[in-house]
């Protein structure tokens, strides 16, 4: 008895009710607590519907092909919202099929629905399977999607859209138990056509259904929908079909047409290579599907089909054509209506359009237009789309719901703009949202969005981007930093501290110093950092942006053990003319460490520290013992010149008179350095030196003297 019941087809109406009620119950269980009247009512209805189905069958299996429910060999109406919603929900939970078995208690159905209310978004498949076990389902068996069944066609490509139907094929294989998780057997392709036909001819009428035919054909043609078709394969297929008994021939021919039509380009190629009889055989099945095509639609499709013919070497298409609901949908019926084409388009114009359609642009050697390609690149189109969306949300046309939808869409784009350094686009988004907020246009949505953009996560994304690409978009980066104001200073400072690249550190410092005195509180906070390089960078920043109020925080670092820190502190103080810095510098000029002294000399010159002129003069007067002693006077000469105080000139004159037989070359370098820097002194105080220089045997000295003389005349 049970066996008899199993082969009965399910009642469509009952099935429809059951799925509808299951979906309603699922939603109610998700919203309301257990025992809530809405839950109890919908659960009762779902349970009763299943009970009625169990009278026809011992078990009912719903297979889920993404947004479609498949039962036995039938695909339930894809347009039915309840079916679609239920299927999508199950698919999102990684469920491939659910089998309900007779004897299912109501409590267990409730448990199942509770399981369905789990938020599976971030759950791993193993966690979901564990959750099923926890719900202790006995009469409901859940099969999860096994992605291992999706095989890898390495090195192959498919055209867009051809990957569709994977779920249907997966589910069909799953239901039939024919899903191959390992390499496909080649056996079927090796069968002679007559042997295969003989075998099928022996089957009983009605035993082979349409799906079966398709399967045989696609396997026999060594063709999954992604591969292209060779003329040999097509010939072999038609040989095979011609050997079938009449009723099977019709059935298989119809499937064959569907199958070859998936790939028009290779079909076309194949067709050219086979006999007329076979083509007629093939077209006879296509002819059954003939439709009258209105002119406007035909023009359009001709254009699109020409495009595909011209360009796709191996275009493949989805599962089926003839059985597809495209031929039945009201949209299509509408498009096939004759309309008033002739009343708008004159015969002459239609002929012109036909000529345009027939025209092969290669005849005019179409030039590749770089601008067109650039304008149509994903990134550029995204940018234009974003601007269009900003215009939309600036208009008064859209509803609150649409406003929210677009604002969310823009949010995704904004992340992309940040990562690609298109900060100007992001700034534009902020400006539009700010403007809408000030106009009180959907203020909650605008303000929430702005809040997101000001969140630490988004700012951190911006900072990461600045480190990678910011230098290439410096102006926009500065403007975006300006928009964020003080809230970005701290993250920028953190980034600076972490950054290993000197170039990027310089860039980050330039962004930070752009804020001027506003960075002081954050900088002071970081100055006590134990790492010397952090202190040095903070002192540098304070030097750029600081005011007198930072000096007490800086002074202690003038005597830091690391000269890089101490000199940065001194520079910071000298900028403000702080005497503490001068004294510290004076101290370093007397250091035992020659490198420290040299750096102190350089700083004295750069910052024109007049207070240390006596020390510098004294150092210049020091008697030379070695060539090194002479050489070390070069930075002193330069520093004194940078200060430009005539008090140093007497000592300079004396230095010029130094004679050395042993270190003649070094003395010449020192003299060149003196003449090279003389221009910084008042001209009337160095006339004698210029005249002397003009008579010098050293060409460089003569040149420098001449330059100064000419500059004086000028």
């Amino acid at each position: 008895m049970a066996d008899d019941r199993e082969i009965l087809p399910l009642d469509a109406q009952l099935l429809s009710e059951a799925i509808f009620e299951l979906n309603v119950s699922r939603r109610n269980v998700n919203i309301y607590p257990a025992g809530h009247p809405s839950v109890a009512r919908s659960l009762d209805r779902a349970y009763n519907s299943l009970e009625k189905l169990f009278e026809l069958r011992e078990d009912i299996t719903l297979a889920i092909a993404k947004d479609t429910i498949v039962i036995d060999d039938s695909v339930l109406d894809k347009k039915n919202t309840a079916y679609r919603e239920f299927a999508l929900h199950l698919n999102a939970m990684n469920i491939a099929c659910v089998t309900f078995t007779a004897g299912l208690p109501k409590d267990e159905l409730y448990e199942f629905l509770r399981f369905l209310s789990i938020d599976a978004t971030d759950l791993a498949p193993e966690a979901l399977q564990e959750a099923v076990r926890e719900h202790n389902l006995i009469h409901i068996n859940i099969g999860f999607i096994d992605y291992g069944a999706f095989s890898f066609g390495e090195g192959r490509t498919e055209k867009e859209g051809s990957g569709t139907g994977l779920w249907e094929r997966y589910i069909r294989g799953l239901i039939d138990g024919t899903l191959q998780t390992e390499g496909i057997s080649d056996i079927i392709q090796e069968i002679p056509p007559e042997a295969l036909a003989d075998m099928l001819n022996k089957t009983n009428p009605g035993e082979i259904r349409e799906e079966g035919c398709e399967r045989v054909i696609s396997t026999y043609m060594k063709q999954s929908p992604e591969t292209t078709l060779s003329s040999m394969e097509l010939t072999r297929l038609l040989d095979f079909i011609s050997r079938l008994r009449p009723e099977l021939k019709k059935q298989f021919l119809s499937s064959a047409v569907k199958n070859v039509s998936m790939d028009i380009r290779s079909t076309e190629r194949a067709i050219r290579e086979i006999s007329v009889d076979k083509i007629i055989e093939l077209l006879s099945a296509i002819d059954e599907q003939q439709v009258t095509i209105p002119a406007a639609l035909k023009n359009l499709l001709d254009k699109f089909s020409k495009f595909y013919q011209l360009n796709s070497e191996d275009t493949t298409f989805g599962d089926s054509i003839i059985a597809d609901d495209i031929f039945l949908s009201p949209d299509v019926v509408n498009l096939l209506g004759t309309g008033d084409f002739e009343s708008y388009v004159t015969d002459i114009y239609q002929k012109e359009i036909e000529k345009v359609l027939r025209f092969d642009v290669s005849e005019v050697a179409a030039k590749e237009l770089a601008e067109l390609r650039k304008a149509c690149s994903d990134e550029y189109v995204e940018r234009c789309f974003n601007q269009t969306m900003l215009e939309l949300i600036s208009s008064d046309l859209i509803s609150e719901e649409e406003y929210e939808y677009i604002v969310n869409m823009i949010k995704e784009e904004a992340g992309q703009f940040i990562e690609t350094g298109q900060y100007g686009q992001v700034l534009n988004i902020f400006r539009v949202l700010e403007s809408n907020l000030s106009r009180e246009r959907f203020p909650d949505i605008s303000s929430d969005a702005l809040k997101d953009y000001k969140s630490p996560e988004f700012i951190s994304q911006f900072i990461d981007s600045l480190r990678i690409i910011g230098r290439q978009a410096r102006e926009d980066a500065l403007q975006l930093c300006d928009y964020y104001g003080e809230r970005i200073i701290s993250p920028l400072m953190d980034a600076l501290i972490d950054e290993e690249s000197q170039t990027i550190r310089h860039f980050l410092i330039s962004l930070i110093t752009h804020f001027g005195a506003r960075i002081i509180p954050v900088a002071i906070k970081h100055i006590s950092d134990s790492r010397w390089f952090v202190k040095r960078n903070i002192l540098l920043i304070l030097g750029e942006c600081g005011t007198k109020e930072v000096l007490p925080h800086v002074r202690p670092y003038c005597h830091h053990e690391n000269p890089k820190v101490s000199f940065e502190a001194i520079k910071c103080l000298l900028k403000e003319g702080d005497s503490y810095g001068v004294n510290a510098l004076r101290g370093y000029l007397k250091s035992e460490n020659k490198e420290v002294v040299e750096q102190a000399i350089v700083i004295s010159g750069i910052f024109k520290v007049r207070e240390v002129i006596p020390e510098l003069i004294q150092m210049l007067r020091k008697k030379d013992i070695s060539g090194k002693d002479i050489y070390e006077k070069i930075p002193i000469v330069k520093a004194l010149a940078q200060i430009g105080d005539p008090r140093a000139l007497d000592t300079i004159r004396n230095t010029l008179s130094i004679r050395s037989i042993l270190f003649k070359g070094t003395v010449e370098r020192l003299r060149e350095a003196i003449y090279g820097s003389l221009k910084h002194y008042p001209v009337d105080k160095i006339e004698d030196l210029i005249e002397k220089g003009l008579k010098s045997r050293n060409e460089r000295i003569r040149d420098e003297s001449l330059k100064i003389k000419k500059a004086r005349r000028g």
């Binding site: 999102a92 999706f150 075998m199 269009t388 690409i469």
Partner: protein, 385 residues
Amino acid sequence: MAYAKTFISTLMSAISNCSLYSKDHISVDNLTKKSIAILTELLTHKDSIEIMIVEDNLVINKTPERNAGHHGSNLIKRLKRKGISRIDFLRDISYSELKQFIADLSDPDEKLKTYPHIKTGIVNVRIVGDNMASDLRNLSSEQVEKVKELYQNISPYKELNISGLEEIVVNFIVTFKREANILKLISPVKAYSEYTYTHATNVAILSMFQAESLGARDDLLHDIGIAALLHDVGKLFISKDILEKTGKLDKKEWEEIKLHSLQGARYLAKTDGLTQLAAVAAFEHHLRYDCKGYPQLNAGGKEQHFCSQIIATSDFFDALRSRRPYKRDWQVQEIIALMRENAGSEFNPFLVDNFSRTLLKADSSLSGNIRLDIFKKATYHFQGL
């Protein structure tokens, strides 16, 4: 899994930067290095990272990624364009091969190459009839050999001219199927206004014709065709009385007509799976080359996109070339003359020139009517990209 997502984000940023700047740009270098570092980490305990696209879902290491986000969608889009639905990144992948892969993926013209540690291909589901398979396994090897011999004797090169047959039926059906979603979008337009629909189809044909003559192919040509077909979809939201009024429109009616650009963009922006170009062109097709048209710009920074300029040219041509109850059909030379007058203000002068020239070549009967010599000294301007 979260780390794999980070890898995809970094990889996609590298691809976008490579597309925006160049393969040798420092940001591409940095992001490639970052991607390699993440991959190396991911591959510490695995031999490979498998990324699959099962229809529109991203599956990483056999686990579906439900929240793939913008980067995930972009990766799917890029891979689909290359005809790829699976990538395996293998252990020991080098910086140079990942960088080459990024460069190839970012270039629409570049086919993916063979990389030692990156395998690309397609996802498939393999099914075989159980019963049939077991029956077939019983066939002898002699039988199989016999078939092979038989096949080798068949010449696959029998010539036959069947030009036209497949275009009439097969291509039509295939194209119908291929463009089903777009046809569903344009269908309400036909139901609402037969003229708007006819106009849209003509504009699509003329725009693809122009774009093709400028070197557009494949996806780009397709996207321009779709954008052109849907450029006036906003008219669905304009009162039929106004849309089909034969008399002069008053100010209020004209203001409503002008809303169709915004309405179109609004409608198309919410339509999944459509090229973003469609919403852009719907918004901009009346903006004019000098941006002095409509809708009025409020957000700043907008210029008319090159594709919108193509569509605007076709739109103008068809509107004048078509016959309406209140106007005659203009002759091609009259339209071209008017377009020429407005080149530089309403239309991109380069496009007006190109359209006229290519139209003349497609239909030589027009040659006596169109004077193209005037364009010889024309200066072409492209709006900054």
